[in-house]
Structure formats: C-alpha cells, structure tokens
C-alpha cells in the first residue's frame, strides 16, 4: 500500500526544471532535424540524418531508462509540450525558405498521418485487417469534389457531408465482420477497395479514369486558400494554407485517438484484439465494436480525402488504389501498432523517404513490400511499441 502511494505520487509530482529542459530540447531537435531533412538535396545529407535517427533510436533501445526519463518529462510537463509543439507547427513554414516542395511534402505527410491514425483504430487497437482505408479516403475525396463542382457547395460544408457518406460506407463494409473473420474479412475489405476503384473508373459521373478536375479552392473569411498568406510583411506560399489546415486535422485526429484509446471503447477494442471470445464473455458486444472501428476509420479517412481533393484540385481513381491502402498499412506496422506517436512517425518517414531518395523512387512499392515483411519478421511491434495504460492519482 505504501509502495503504491509512492508510485502514484511519483506520477503526480510537478514538473522540474530538467523536465522542461528535456521537453524543449527534444522538440527543438526533432523540428530542426525535420527541417534539414526536408530541405536536403544531397542524398548524403539525407543519409546522414537518417543515420542520426537510427543512432538515436538504437540508444533509446539500449538505455531504456533514458527513454523512460524523456517519456516521464513529457507526461509531467504536458502543457509545455503541447504548447511548444503548436508553436513549432505554426512557425515551421517560416523556416523553409519559401520552399513549396517541402511544404507539399509536409501536407501529404500530414494527410497520411491522419489516414494511419484512422487505420490504427482497426489494425492497431482491434486487430482487424482493413485493406480499404484507401477506398474510404477516395469516397471522401469524390463526395466532396462532386458536391463542390456540381452543387457549388463550399469546402466547409462538403467536409462533414463527405465524412457522413464515407462513414455510412464504413458501416456497410463493417457489416460482413459480423459473420466473418481474419482471412475472409480481409478478402471482403480488399474486394471493397477494388470494387470502389473500378466503379470510380467506370462511372460517367465520376469522370471515369480521367477523374474530376477544377475543384475550387476553399476560402475562409474572404481569404482564398489559393492565394499566399501575407501577415505583417511575412509572405508564405499558398501551400501554407493547406499546411495549416492539415495540421489542424492531424491535431483533431490525435485528440480523438487519445480520447478513444483512454476510454472504455479503447479498452474494449484492445480486449477483442487480445482474445475475441474472452472479450464476448466480459460483456463486450464485439460486433458493435468491430463495426464502430470501421466507421471511425472511414470518418477520419474521408476528412483527409476531402482536404486532398481541394488541395490538389484534381482527383482520379488512381489516387485511391489498393496500393494506397497497403501504404497506409505499412505506416501503421512500421510506426508501431496502437501507438499514436509511432504511427505518425511511420507516416512521415514513409512519405518523405521515397521522395528524398529520388534515385530509388521507382522502387518505392517494392521497398514498401519488403519493409512490411522485414518488420513483421524482425520487429512486429514496430518502431514504437504500444505501452500499458497508467491510471494516475486515482487511489
């Protein structure tokens, strides 16, 4: 009992100065590394930064007390950590010397981070194989684009509408999970993804293989997202609009994921991942929780799809193939199932790496395939393994 109170109080202590220092230092180092990585042209510099990342990662593996120390600092000084992170995200475009390609990479990485978080609800939390996240992403993009082009509905209304439609499809896709499991369910999701792709490719009203063009840029309070941001003599390229928009979406995704993970729902998902039959015998309605995981995945993916459509202003079925779904799955597996930070790191790494190593971008898909196999064989828990939940200060 005494030991227990000591443990609990240890978690409740106020942050010390060194906690603050650790948080500030790690966030700054992360941001600076990311900046150099984004602006690096020379493959040697890219390789060097990657090497640094690997070394840092290896050190954390060996000195798990350091990892614990950093994690502890972040949980004690969580306000500072979040505040500083927001500030860094806000200021980051200023540090890119107006490089629009770097901004573009960041936007795509953030959208993939959202998709990976979405898939993580299923693959990571509940162990449901879903090969159709790319299809939900596409449904979101197409629904909002069609609304904007044909009905002149603006982005801010198209966004929730697309999410509702995609969620409905998500429910539909989740229904077979009542009767089928594992391999069979995987086949159903693959089939769903292929069917959606083929339909988009064949219907006239979706523009067939040519897709949809001329999706109008969103605007907010009279500021068009197609024009650059001018603020007190600072000028940011128009991509910055979408950078901030997708950053907000990542924020929403992280908050939703954390809230669900730290609730009765996240626990129920984890239970059915560990042992579905035992979960049923704890009073968990496994069918409902499976369908729910499909719906949440589709909802978030549709958000990402909408932003993508309005950002690029042109979409075609080939943006939403089976391979997109597999790419998202790779990000979750590499990053670490059921670990939100890990999944985001996975998304950033796997979006930027092939772009940065141009010589090898032809081999991107081959690379993804091999990376998944190697990770599943050597480190199935991913770069950042899931952590046990902690309940602080309750007793």
């Amino acid at each position: 009992m005494n030991m227990a109170t000591a443990l609990d109080s240890g978690r409740l202590t106020r942050p010390t100065f060194s906690d603050f220092a650790i948080v500030v230092a790690s966030e700054l180092v992360g941001a600076i590394l990311l900046r150099f990585f984004l602006l690096a042209d020379d493959w040697r510099l890219v390789g060097g930064i990657l090497l640094l990342f690997c070394v840092g990662f290896a050190v954390m593996q060996i000195r798990s007390d350091w990892e614990e120390r950093i994690g502890g600092a972040f949980s004690r000084a969580s306000r500072l950590a979040v505040g500083l992170a927001i500030l860094l995200v806000l200021l980051f475009p200023l540090a890119l010397n107006g490089n629009t390609y770097a901004l573009h990479l960041l936007i795509v990485s953030q959208l993939y981070a959202v998709l990976a978080i979405a898939l993580n609800f299923q693959l990571g939390s509940a162990n449901i194989p879903n090969f159709a996240t790319g299809a939900s992403y596409g449904i979101g993009a197409y629904v909002s684009a069609l609304l904007a082009i044909h009905f002149d509905i603006n982005f801010w209304l198209a966004l929730p509408a697309a999410a509702v439609v995609a969620t409905a499809f998500g429910f539909l896709l989740g229904l077979p999970s009542m009767r089928t499991r594992e391999s069979y369910l995987a086949l159903v999701t693959i089939a769903f993804g292929v069917v959606i792709h083929q339909l988009l490719n064949n219907f006239d009203w979706t523009g067939g293989p040519n897709g949809l063009v001329g999706i109008p840029a969103p605007s907010l309070f009279g500021h068009s997202f197609a024009s650059p941001i001018l603020l007190g003599g600072i000028k940011l390229p128009s991509q910055a609009n979408f950078y901030y928009l997708s950053a907000v979406l990542v924020g929403i995704a992280i908050i939703s994921a954390q809230r669900l993970h730290g609730s009765r729902i996240g626990l129920a998902w984890n239970a059915l991942r560990a042992d579905e039959l035992a979960a049923r015998c704890q009073g968990i309605n496994v069918i409902w929780y499976k369908v729910l995981a499909f719906a949440v995945d589709a909802f978030l993916a549709a958000f990402a799809g909408t932003i993508y459509a309005f950002y690029i202003s042109f979409i075609s079925p080939d943006n939403f193939t089976f391979l997109v779904s597999v790419t998202i799955m790779t990000m979750v597996i590499v990053g670490g199932m059921d670990n939100i930070l890990g999944v985001i790191v996975g998304a950033f790494l796997l979006t930027m790496l092939p772009e940065k190593l141009r010589a090898f971008s032809d081999y991107r898909i081959l690379f993804f395939g091999i990376v998944v196999i190697l990770f599943l064989m050597i480190r199935p828990q991913g770069l950042f393994p899931q952590r046990l939940r902690r309940y602080g200060g309750s007793q």
């Binding site: 669900l260 609730s263 560990a274 042992d275 015998c281 704890q282």
Partner: protein, 264 residues
C-alpha cells in the same frame, strides 16, 4: 442458501453433426450455493458452461436466470444479466495490464459511448478512473500480491496469479452466478489450498453469489461445493453431496473403469 433457484437448466442438449455432446441435462443452482461439476475428461462439463454463457446454442432445452430465459441471447447480454465465467485454459488479455483486465471485466457495468469519449472526455475519463479505483479494490480483496502487480502485463504473471486474475475479472462484472472452469488446473497443492481459501473469502463477502465449479481435484471438490453433479458422456449420471456421490458405483465406474470399480 436462501433456497430459490438462481440458475436453472432444463433438458439441455447439443449436437455437433452426429455427435451428441450434451444430452438432456437438468440442473438447479440455488442462491449462495456452490455446485461442483465433475466427470471424466471430455464428458461435456465445459460444454455445459458454453451452453449457459451463450457461446453455444443448445439444440434443445432451456436455461433460466431467476426465471428469465437466457436462450438465444448473445454472450455479452448474458454477462450483463449476471452470469460470469472463467476458462479452463486461462484466457486473459495478455498484452494488457492486470488492472486493465479487471476494468474490461466491468464493461457491462460502465456506460460511456463513443460520443462521450470524444465530446465529453471528462465524463468518460472520470468513469474510467472510478472503474480503475474499484478494480484496484477488487484486486486487493482477491489477493494482495495481485494488487501489487496491477501495472504489469497479464502475460508476466505466474500461473496461480493468472487464475486469481481470471476470477477477479469475472467478479468485476458483479455477477449473480460465477462459473469457474477448473480453476485449480496447473496448480500444486499449496496453490490449490490458497485457491480454496480465496474462494471461501469471496463467498464470505458475497453471500448471495452462486458458484458452479468444474473440478478434477477431489480435495477441492470435497471441501468447497455444497452439492456435486456428475457428468459422463454428456449425461448427468448422479447428483448429491460429495459423501453420497463418491460411494455410488456408477460414479466409480465412470472414473476408474468398470473392472477397477469392482475391486474398489
């Protein structure tokens, strides 16, 4: 024992293809009673539990909980109505903490939904914190050593502690009826003694709780249950106090084989 039937089975029968795994079994479990279920391996004891808890659908027959029929209800509804169980081969949520295992056991007694979790996080978190506190108390009441290990992964527990955790998880659903499927399997004598003491402690604190217990360890069967029923080849062949049961020739045959029983 207050004398009224909490759980009642009538003519329970299940066939898998041509195999009759359970044939016309009746049983009654009274409030506060401990009913032992014994029989040779493969006799259908676990099948009986699977029928009660809704994992299998009976081909014929009915189960009532306080006179309300359980037939056709999905497994998770039956837990909600007050029947919890453990498994013969322990089925813990291995990669979750001991505390989380118990909190998940409270699933049917907590209520936050998706929208609570997303839009009213303080309510959802508050409920979970409360559940964590209750789970801690429950763990402490079952076993102090288990409580001290509450933040470890369930997979790291020793065999005896796993059994205890399974019982704690089942109790977390606040059941009226607890079904224990061979709780002593894989335990040595010392652990079994501790288990008997644990179960005694549980029933002392919850006098209304009724327990059905499948066992092979005759020491436990002699000490704990008020009544024992014997199952062989999916049929109930005897029922009564342990003293009466163990002298019945039919039971001895079932356990020892006909010839050995004749010599005994």
């Amino acid at each position: 024992m207050s004398g009224h039937a909490v759980l009642r089975g009538e003519g329970l029968t299940i066939r898998f293809g041509g195999l009759v795994a359970m044939d016309d079994v009746d049983f009654v479990l009274e409030a506060g009673e401990i009913l032992g279920v014994i029989g040779p391996n493969g006799a259908g004891k676990s099948t009986l539990f699977n029928l009660i808890t809704g994992l299998y659908r009976p081909s014929a027959g009915k189960v009532f909980l306080n006179d309300r029929p359980l037939n056709g209800l999905p497994a998770h509804r039956i837990v909600q109505m007050g029947v919890s169980r453990t498994f013969q081969s322990s089925r813990l949520f291995a990669d979750l903490s001991v505390l989380d295992n118990v909190i998940i056991g409270m699933h049917s007694r907590t209520h936050s939904g998706v929208f609570d979790a997303l839009l009213r996080p303080s309510k959802a978190r508050g409920e979970l914190q409360q559940a964590a506190a209750k789970a801690g108390d429950l763990l402490r009441s079952v076993s102090a050593s288990l409580y001290d290990q509450r933040e470890r992964a369930a997979s790291e527990l020793a065999q005896a502690d796993r059994r205890r955790l399974e019982i704690a998880r089942a109790l977390a659903a606040e059941p009226k009826v607890l079904l224990l499927d061979e709780p002593s399997s894989g335990m040595d004598d010392r652990d079994t003694d501790a288990l008997i003491a644990d179960i005694r402690g549980i029933t002392a604190r919850r006098p209304e709780l009724s327990i059905m217990i499948i066992e092979h360890d005759m020491r436990l069967v002699a000490e704990l249950p008020h009544r024992v029923m014997v199952i062989e080849y999916g049929r109930k062949i005897a029922e009564g106090s342990f003293q009466d049961i163990r002298n019945m020739p039919r039971v001895q045959e079932a356990y020892l084989g006909r010839k050995a029983a004749a010599h005994a």
